[in-house]
Amino acid sequence: MNKYNKIATLVGVWALSSSAAMAGPADDTLVLNEETEMVTRTAAPAHLSDVMDEVISGWHFRGVETRAMQADDFDNPGMIFVEQAQEAWDTADGSEGKSCASCHDGTESMAGVKAVYPKWNEAAGAVRTLEMQINDCRETRMGAEAWDYTGGTMQNMVALIASVSRGMPVNVAIDGPAQSTWEQGKELYYTRTGQLEMSCANCHEDNYGNMIRADHLSQGQINGFPVYRLKNTKLNSVHARFKGCVRDTRAETYKPGSPEFIALELYVASRGNGLSVEGPSIRN
């Protein structure tokens, strides 16, 4: 038997065992609070047409209890943090004596915001994440101290702003002035980092639906961030999750809030264009 026949046999065995062992994403529908039907699977955006047909929320890759917990705000522990942010929203801070509510109407006025972030900011001449925009408000308008990028207070506020966009489709712009940042993010997505030489794509594009040890690999979509993780019982930021993934390739990570992770966030968000905003979602 030559090498190529061996490979063919191997691939055959592999295909058989994969389809038998795991059913892939769960066949289920997410209806939020018995009223809002969420888009958790949809046609892939045009820029992904070469690599996949369908984009699927990480919700489908979790167990039945985790999926149910996210469907009801009373069961979703992430909503406790949203309530905490609601208090912060109304509380004045900084030298200007202002709160978020001093300039913005109710939190519902933020509906649609999370869906389009990260977003090009003309005045700054750069792509900004929602965290950066919040800190700009705090420092420039409120005269308050910036919040820690991945910290609880910040992520609570991101969760609050995300929560009022739930059910709206992710729709980040990837063209115009954001394009070069998006290209940089795409390059990072396919770069095999660390001693294990793994890229985002190795797991989340080529192997979603497969098990890696006890983990059911998803597409790595970020429409559900901030994510309440059952393993650490708190809200987790996109950049903290990126950092964890890069660390697990035995690599020197990038820092949360770094230009690299901003670019990667824009690119990964764009891979989920069309999925509903789910944050705060629940994952394991």
Binding site: A21, G194, M198, N202, D206, V246
Partner: protein, 157 residues
Amino acid sequence: MRTRMTLALAFAVSAGMATAAEIPPTGVSYEDGAVAASLSGTPGNVDEGRKIVGSKKLGNCVACHAVSDLADVPFHGEIGPPLDGAADRWSEAELRGIVANAKMMFDGTMMPSFYKTEGFIRPGKAYTGKAADDTFGPLLSAQQIEDVVAYLSTLKE
């Protein structure tokens, strides 16, 4: 003069020993992805190899490959092909090459290279997220590779 002779002799002896005993990651010779020579010069230990394949702290091969013989280890992955019958499909030299650096045989494979120390992008210090320092070494030692190869060579159907 005598000192110089002694020095030269000592050098020859130690260099000779290094060559016979262990091939460093940068000195491995691949032919069509296979590695004929033992990396350590010492035969592999099947029981040690079995441990390395199943242990999360060592090879963690089962993270991606299922192995029926390791049914006592929970949660086998399905990223790569199952290892049952690996010894029927591959020679010892091929198995050694695949474990040491599978990319030499399968261009672009996701499989990590277990006996390689160069050519990484942003190599880290194990799983700390920090940059690699002078403790950086291959994922498995020469002897551990030989142990894994010895174990895989027992997987016949």
